[in-house]
């Protein structure tokens, strides 16, 4: 018999379901008085360093219909490229920036929105610098395991062109599915779950 490595198996994922808001953002769905605030609803304060930006968008299903019951979480570095996390060993991130945010797609029009700052660059494993990006995670009814993707910035064409992850996308036409569009300090990032414009999702 082979030596057993005795590793545990990861707990299997299940869909977040249509009522995910009850647990993740109770105040927003009318369950008030349990938590003071919904976690992740505010990422910045008056002292946060870096360029203020807003990110909004919608998630479309395979029939091009907006998904109106999803929850998105984003995770990003501060303006210098440091993460506000205990496993960040390169320095201390801006204490006035959480780096993490949570937003639901609105029940009416399916729009999600984050107010944050533009992240600095973070090194890839081999030391090459990645282009500025935001890690995005999506859960919803009908999604059995959370979907990971990244948002990149359109004005960073030079950095995007040498980004180690974007370079790995074989079908070059799909690169643009990870790049937001910009109007001033407002970015739009629409996500397509399936079909011809399907967003690149990651196994990370």
């Amino acid at each position: 018999m082979l030596l057993s490595l005795d590793a545990l198996k990861e707990t299997p994922s299940q869909t977040a379901g249509p009522y995910v808001h009850i647990g993740l953002m109770p105040n927003s769905c009318g369950i008030e008085g349990v938590y003071a605030d919904d976690l992740g609803s505010v990422m910045v304060n008056d002292k946060t360093l870096g360029a203020r930006i807003a990110i909004s968008g919608r998630i479309f299903d395979g029939a091009q219909t907006p998904v109106r019951d999803a929850v998105l979480e984003i995770w990003q570095a501060d303006h210098t490229g440091l993460y506000n996390s205990p496993s960040e060993r390169r320095g201390t991130a801006d204490p006035n920036f959480t780096g993490w945010g949570r937003s639901a797609t609105a029940a009416e029009d399916g729009v999600f929105r984050f107010e944050t700052i533009k992240p600095g660059r973070v090194p890839f494993k081999d030391g090459r610098m990645m282009a500025p990006h935001i890690t995005v995670w999506i859960v919803a009814r009908g999604i059995n395991i959370g979907l990971h993707t990244r948002l990149y910035f359109p004005e960073e064409a030079e950095a995007n062109a040498v980004d180690p992850l974007l370079l790995r996308i074989e079908h070059r036409a799909r690169v643009e599915t990870m790049i937001a569009t910009r109007t001033g300090q407002d970015y739009t990032f629409d996500i397509h779950l399936q079909g011809p414009s399907e967003t690149v999702f990651l196994d990370i």
Binding site: V34, Y35, R89, G142, L193
Partner: protein
């Protein structure tokens, strides 16, 4: 986060996810998945700092009643109606290490299977003393516990006569964003589990069994509440076998 002073945070990349153990994206028995499943292959990426790091939450954010669903929405002196239970367990990683400081959020229907949500239309009544949300943070050994009422089964418009088994939704934060997990906990002995199209999106029976909490008789509180035990396993991290690498192995 509670961290022993001599215990540096781990920074290695995570074990790859076994996507044959998890549900595939497309599971037509669960109808909503059909138009919400990506059709193209995922782009695989061994963890970078953007995935090996993640938000960690302090115990200070947790209110006194956050882990008591029997009372956290109830009027003073009143409590939720239903079978009183304690749900507890440990959060471990695939190497069997406790995930200390892990944030758990949970949500559920009331004892009659009714959710407090404006999109929910099931005719079972709301309980005026039950909200249905809670959260807690694991201690240094990865233990968590909360008190609630056992949720009821409820019907849903999938097949003509589909009912969800009694379940509690869990959202879990480990130490890296790649560990982020949402799942559902079921109850030992519930015959509804094996009929459920959402449960049956999981291909392996052993994986389904990992979601079933066991009646924990020894921790049942006499004349008060029964106990269920539910352990959660998050992705493990590679050990730093070669220290000259920038980030882990």
């Amino acid at each position: 986060m509670s961290m022993r002073s001599n215990d540096a945070p781990e920074t290695g990349a995570f074990f790859g996810r076994d996507r044959t153990w998890h549900s595939p994206a497309l599971t037509p028995g669960y109808k909503t998945s059909v138009l919400r499943a990506p059709q193209r292959a995922l782009l695989s990426l061994d963890g970078t700092l953007s995935e090996t790091t993640g938000p960690v939450f302090g115990h200070g954010m947790i209110g006194e009643l956050d882990n008591d669903l029997i009372h956290n929405f109830a009027k003073p002196g009143e409590s939720a109606i239903g079978e009183r239970i304690v749900v507890h367990g440990r959060v471990l990683d695939e190497r069997g290490r406790p995930v200390r400081g892990a944030l758990l959020e949970f949500w559920q229907a009331n004892a009659g299977g009714r959710y407090r949500h404006k999109k929910e239309t099931y005719l079972a009544a709301l309980d005026p003393n039950f909200g249905g949300c809670g959260r807690t943070i694991c201690d240094d050994e990865g233990h968590y516990a909360f008190r609630t009422v056992r949720p009821g089964a409820y019907p849903w418009p999938n097949g003509v006569n589909d009912w969800r088994p009694a379940h509690i939704h869990f959202s879990v934060f480990g130490h890296g964003f790649a560990q982020r997990l949402i799942t559902q906990m079921y109850f030992e002995g519930d015959p509804m589990i094996w009929k459920c199209p959402i449960v049956n999106t999981i291909p392996d029976k052993a994986a389904i069994e990992q979601l079933i909490a066991l009646l924990d008789w020894n921790n049942t509180i006499p004349m008060d509440a029964r106990a269920y035990r539910f352990d959660i396993v998050l992705r493990g991290r590679r050990s730093t076998l070669f220290e000259n690498r920038l980030e882990g192995n």
